[in-house]
Each structure stands twice: as C-alpha cells, then as structure tokens.
Symmetry: C2
Subunit: 326 residues, 2 copies
C-alpha cells in the first residue's frame, strides 16, 4: 500500500522516525512488507503525499482540511490520538474512508498515573503542596488505600487499567459505564444512568471517560456536591466532563479534599486563571497518558493490528464507532 506518515509540525518527542517504522514492520511480519512509505512534516509534504496516499498515519487535527480536497485514493486514516472529540463534526471525512484511533496505547502510562493519583490523594499530597507553597510545616495524616472506595467513570483503557492497579492495592472498586455489565477489575459496575447512586459513598472519583454528547458535563456541580466531604477527584479524561469552576469552589471550601487534574477547559490553562492558585489541586499539563518511549511503537503496532483485521474481513479493533462517538 502507499502509506504516508505525517509528523506534527512542532512536537519533536512524538516524531515518527524511520527506525521506528522499520522496527514496527519487523514486528508485523508478512503484513509489513511491500509498502511504499513516506514521512513528512510540512503542509506541502502532506499535500504532495496525499495525491496518491492510500493510508495516512497522522495527528489529523492540523491537516484535516486538506483531506477531502487532496486525497483521491485515501482509504484509511490511522489517527495518532485516542480521543477524537476534537475532530467532530466529521464532515471533513470523505465517505468510505475508515478512521482508526490508537486507543489502548495510553493504558500503561495513564493507568500508572491513575493509581498514582489515588495514592497521592490518600497520602494528602495536594494538601502538602499547598502547605509547601505557604512555607508551612503542619503534620497531616493520610491512610492506606486498602479497603477504601474508588469509583472509576469510564472503563476503557485508562479507567480499566487504573481499576486493575487499585485492586492490586486492595481497594473496593466500582466502575461506571454505558451499560451495567461486569468488568474483571471492578467489584461492581453500574450504568452511567445510575451514577448518582454511587457518589455519596465514593472516597475517590477517577474520571476516565471519552468526551461525547452523552458525557459532556456529566459531573455537574450538583453531582460533585453529592461526594462526601473530603473526597478526592482525578480527571484523566477530558476537562469538559466536569464542571471545572465547581471543582475549584469545592476545593476552596474544603468539600473536596484534593484533586489531581490532567485535563482542563481551556488548554493551555491561561495565565492568571484561578486554577493556578486553587488550593489542594495538582495540575498536570495533559501529558499523563503519553510516554514518548512507547507512544509511536505502540501506535504503529495498533495500525498493523487494524490492518490485519481489515484484510481478514473483520472490523478494525480501533475503528471509530460514530454512533457512540469514540
């Protein structure tokens, strides 16, 4: 196939290299052979390649406008992102062109970040950081996480892996997802429509859902207030899942005991935004799921895995389901 890989204009840690491509080809066995491949960076590179490319591997956001006009032979887009909320609406996507994501590859890093955040909240690190900023030594005591109650909203790669780690530490884990069906790493799973029933007994709430019409602002101010006093909040999904201003208010009032947030509205967080000085809050700059050492190799493995399924007449595992929005 004629494959073009488009690197981001300015995000060097995530540039695809020829070495990465060749290593992925070697891992892919027979599927890796016989392709005609280019790697580009500029819009001109992209335009030249789209002329005859059948497969495009790229962080689509910056170049999607070019696609309907310049890519007559395109059959497959392998996006180098998992969350596609930033690509909607999909009127730029030509009919008949498959859109695959790299969902799943963030599991390792994000799962570690998820359980790290739970442990940080249990040890009261956000409060320590606030005290440190004030130059204040004051003993505050945390607790072990064994036996404590974690609710994970969204049981995809990020939430599911976080749940698995939480079980290792002996936590009681309740998952929340679209349908109420069991998950191997949760003690219980409830449907998203029942979310309010679990909030009053949730000690730690980990938000790891995709952003869709159904999940936008799912954690309203009213729902956040249903959490017990002192609860901890983690968001590794998308900022718009949560009423961010309510989070700040509830941290300031002490209703929330602490928060670790990786995602915000807007990003970057503007200078002088109240988030920067909200107490008992740790801000991670939307990099919690991204490990440059493993990101591209795993994305390419995902691509070849999709291609294998496709050639066998099956649905590509990470093909976007446009009715669900991810």
């Amino acid at each position: 196939m004629r494959i073009h890989i488009q690197n981001p204009e300015s995000d060097p840690p995530f540039d695809f290299s020829w070495e990465q491509w060749q290593a992925a080809v070697a891992r892919a066995g027979d599927l890796g052979a016989g392709h005609s491949v280019t790697i580009g960076r500029t819009k001109a590179d992209c335009a030249a390649a789209l002329h005859d490319a059948e497969i495009l591997i790229a962080d689509i956001a910056a170049i999607r406008a070019q696609i309907p006009l310049q890519a007559p032979r395109l059959k497959i887009i392998q996006a180098t992102v998992a969350g596609i909320d930033g690509l909607a609406p999909f009127d730029w996507l030509p009919k008949g062109v498959a859109l695959w994501t790299n969902r799943g590859i963030h599991a390792g890093k994000a799962g570690e970040f998820g359980i790290m955040s739970v442990l940080m909240l249990a040890s009261r690190i956000p409060e320590f950081v606030t005290q440190q900023r004030a130059g204040q030594w004051k003993k505050l005591y945390g607790s072990v996480v064994a036996g404590r109650r974690l609710t994970v909203l969204g049981l995809g790669a990020l939430g599911g892996t976080s749940a698995r780690h939480a079980k290792y530490f002996g936590m009681h884990v309740t998952g929340v997802r679209t349908q109420e069906k069991p998950h191997p790493d949760c003690d219980a799973v409830i449907a998203a429509t029942d979310l309010e029933t679990i909030l009053p007994t949730t000690e730690f709430l980990l938000v790891a859902a995709p952003l869709t019409a159904a999940t936008r602002n799912i954690l309203t101010r009213e729902r956040l207030k249903m959490l017990p006093r002192g609860a901890g909040l983690i968001n590794i999904g998308r900022g718009a899942l949560v009423d961010q201003d309510a989070v700040c208010d509830l941290l300031e009032s002490g209703h929330l005991g602490g928060a670790v947030l990786d995602v915000f509205v807007p990003e970057p967080v503007p200078q002088n935004h109240r988030l920067w000085t909200t107490k008992n809050l740790i801000i991670s700059p939307h990099t919690c799921a991204d490990d440059p050492n493993t990101y591209n190799p795993q994305t390419l493995d995902t691509f070849f895995n999709n291609l294998r399924a496709c050639q066998a007449g099956r649905l590509a595992p990470t093909a976007v389901d446009f009715t669900r929005g991810f």
Copy 2:
C-alpha cells in the same frame, strides 16, 4: 501483668483508646486476659503508673527521664515508634528492661508512599508542581516505570514493601543492605559497602534505612553526584541519611530531576528555609508512614506478638538489637 499505656501529651490522632485496647485483647486470645491496665496522658499519670507498672506502652521520648527513677518493677517497654535514633544514647534504659519497637507496622502506608513517589517522579509531578507555582503551562512528558531501575537503600519494612510494589509495576529493583543476601522482591541485592557501584545506573533512589552510626550521611554530596542526570530521589528514612544541602543544590542545578522527601534536618523545617522554595521538590511533613486508622491496632498486635514470643522463651521479634542500633 501490670500494663500502663501512656498517650502522647498532644497528638490526638494517635491516642490509644479503651476500645482499641479491648479489640487488641480480643485478637490476642489467651494472652490478652488477666492484665491490669491503665491509660494516661500527663507526667503525673505516668509517674503514678510507673510506681508498679511491669510493662509500659508509650512513645518513650518525652518520658524517658522518668523511667530509671520511678519504675522499680518495669520489665518491658513497648515503644510506639519504629525508629529509635531519637532515643540514643540508651543510658536512661535500666539494665534488664527489654525495649521493643513497633517496626513493621509502617510497612503498609510507607510502602504505598514509596511506590507513589516513584510513580510521581516518573510522571514528573515535582516539575509540574514547580511550574504550577509559577502559573506556567508547559508540556513535559514522563514515562512508564516498567523496566526502569530503582535502587532501594534499606530493606526493612519500608524498603521491602516499596520493592514489592515496584516489582508489581515491572521495575528492575536493586536492594542495598548491610549484608549481600537475596531479597524476594529485589532482582539483585548488594552490600552497603558497594553502594557506589549501583549509583551511576540508578534512575530512582529510594532511601528507607534506619539512622545509625553506620548510615548517617551515607548519601554524601559526592555520592549523590554519582547518580545520572535526571535521577529521582525519595527519602522516607531519616533526614540525616542524606546531605540535604547537596540535594537542594542538585535539584536547583537540574542534576536531580526531582525529589520527594518526608524527612528533614531539622524538623519541623524552619520558616524561610531554602527547602520550601527549592525547585522540583515535594515536601511531606514526616507523616508518610503513619495511618491513624491502623497505627495503634497494629502496634498493640505487635506488642502481643512480642509477648507471645517472650513467654515461649524466644526473642521478641521487634526487640532492639543494640549492636546494630535498631
């Protein structure tokens, strides 16, 4: 036996209650019955009880001066601490009185804090906190910990449990202790005399040793500089194990990529001390190993476990070995 429990004068989270005592008695079976027990708080309470007490359960530091003068029948002191460096020299301890610690009970909480700190360093949380203090959004990328190299200095309850968690996450763990003998949760163990051989390949260094004549300032400036650029440092042992001023210098220069410290010289860290503003440093106020929900129950279980061994003619498991200093 005649047992006196002395509560700290002012540390309410760690007060022993009658409920805790009775629950421990119930767990201890036959050993729990038939004791005459008092619980006190003031120096007068202590003096009155020491008159006939055979066993004293207390955080000894504040009352040790009373012991040689006022406790003619005393046979056993069950200290409610694990580190006894603050009790040396031991000239206050009457001959023939056994001194037991509660070492081991900090394993759960400290082990979670240890692996949490490793995950924080791998995710670059100390740098994020420094950026946050400056109101600065800048993407920095961390990594998964699988395959990365952790060195644990001290393989007691704190270090050993941290090592076990690190193995769960797939790290390569090297332990350092007095003698070079295997540990079930380490890929390799080296003797403390060989410490310098492991520093250049250590990505994360977790310090969890007791403070003794042999370990004081074991991490000199010269040794800290042997760590590779960007290495992360964790100290959950004692502040005086490490050249603290060198840690600050190496954080400021960027040679150390980050640090999570729970112990300092002196404590409390004074106002306006350079530690408060040292970059890429997280300060925890020496509470990393203490969970008020489990501390006293586990301390009492340790006491009854020691008593059982003692009555069976064996050495109490947490009796202080004065030749080793812990």
